[in-house]
Subunit: 323 residues, 2 copies
Amino acid sequence: MKPKIEDVAKVAGVSPTTVSRVLNNRGYIGENTRIKVHKAMEQLNYYPNEVARSLFIKKTFLIGLIFPTTSNPFYGQLIFHLENIAATLGYKVLLCNSQGREDKEKNYLNMLQRNQVDGIIAGAHNKGIEEYEIPNLPVVGVDRYLSSKIPVVSSDNYHGGKLATQLLINKGCKNIIHINGPISLETPANLRRKAYEDIMRANQLTPLTYEIDDHFKIIKQLFEENPRVDGIFASDDLIASQVIRQAKERNIDIPTDLKVIGYDGTETTRLLLPELSTVQQPIKEIAEKAIELLVKQMDDKDDAIQLETIIPGKLIEGETTGG
Amino acid sequence: MKPKIEDVAKVAGVSPTTVSRVLNNRGYIGENTRIKVHKAMEQLNYYPNEVARSLFIKKTFLIGLIFPTTSNPFYGQLIFHLENIAATLGYKVLLCNSQGREDKEKNYLNMLQRNQVDGIIAGAHNKGIEEYEIPNLPVVGVDRYLSSKIPVVSSDNYHGGKLATQLLINKGCKNIIHINGPISLETPANLRRKAYEDIMRANQLTPLTYEIDDHFKIIKQLFEENPRVDGIFASDDLIASQVIRQAKERNIDIPTDLKVIGYDGTETTRLLLPELSTVQQPIKEIAEKAIELLVKQMDDKDDAIQLETIIPGKLIEGETTGG
DNA sequence: AACAATATGTCAACCGGTTGACATATGAAA
DNA sequence: TTTCATATGTCAACCGGTTGACATATTGTT
């Protein structure tokens, strides 16, 4: 059986309380005793039972992360940073891949509460949800409005959308189309679209947005319906990549006949598709801010917290928008 | 304060034991009582405290995952599947990004034990380690030998290496170079290299392997030292992508002058770089097998378990190896 | 010598849920 | 009527670590 404090105490020849005191640096402890206790712990291969500890102190140092999927390089990278920063602060991370499914999300939310997490960071779906408003449980949204009371961290989507659209216009594009994910979700990312439409109009151009729900069928359709398209702003790099592929198949030369810009600029995209112009999200900074806001909520309970944090992104010009 | 069983009992007008019985479906429970209890739980917004429960039943339903980073699309996708399958079995997942650093890995291992995880799946570093041999704690390695006693799941690396090398040879390449990660680590992935060298020799060709530790400096060097190279087998798609980029910069036409094949074939690579030939790893199957082996160890304690599981991968021919 | 500060021990309550032992009550079957 | 399956309650121990109260030594200081 796993050794417990009592066993350590016996081996070290001290009382269980003393061991606990050593473990938690409380009260007076002699240097000798400290050493004896540590030796005993080593000898027995003792690991303090955090479950028992958590039960008593009513804190688990667990943070729940709910995101669509680590498969997606954007979330993969974001989650990497979240976990990393959390770890430096002594927090551990429970991973939940909701896959954009409401039922899964609800189950995870339920599970996280049963497991007494100290907080939740979510960048998943929403909709009817006031489900995230949990009394005494700090929550932070990433690129997702979870409720009117829950703080959100996101990149400056409007500015990003503007940068992308303006770049295409500057490069001489006249027929610029925007493609984005399903906008039934009310996310800050929709501001990319809003910026696109604003900038287009400001330049006497007609905005046209395609909403991609599922397949690249939409992209095919886009090309068929708009033979004169000369600029495409995709709301993420993966979609942009599909666009490029489709253009190649139709012998549309990029960037001569068509200029393409994506969004996200993850490490992986930069490596695999370095020629793609994109608006790079400040992923690490988003993660830092999200954790900071979460921890702040956990520490000073009902202090007022910034409800919306917007971090600027960065335009990366690649070959897909021309020299 | 959060409601506890006692509160539920009061509201439902029953005893705490009865509530526990309802919760765990033990003993006799009348339909009426069951409903009353559920209503009370709903009314109070009661969530059973898993921490308390875990303490008593000595099982947390937690699985620790130690991998270099979710940023990498291969691990991202693998971890997605691991979490997913674990969830269907009622297990939760503690995520650890070790970043290939021994110190971090050790800390995580320590942390997971303190948190009483039921098992660990690791695909990280190793080296001096017998550290993973933890009494009574099931462990499974993914593409990593963790110890002589710990089961490993991996794709058929030898076969994959063979497929890749053979393809290049079939396509007429004579000067084929292999690039892989640092092989100081003893991993099943080294079999890709072994296969490459075997096949080369079997075809009266001279194998030449470059070991990439850090940068694409090595790739530059490779091109400079081997102007006649006409085939490159990279041990992962990200490296292959760098090779392609470097070749473009040197105006080496792919596939005419140089054929390139990678390894992994993640969803992300397939989307972003569909033209890349690669050996696709059976990521989902690896995840399934890993969980299966872990759960088997947890269930029938010291049943003999398969020490090495090898799952075949799949050759994907893209344009980078020619028509 | 008196008084602190330091060092350690004993003991019990507590965190929230689980479980087994045992008591009791009801209704139905034998 | 007896007996049994069903239904629920009471009670206490337990999981492993934490904490406060209190006792007792041993130092060192003044």
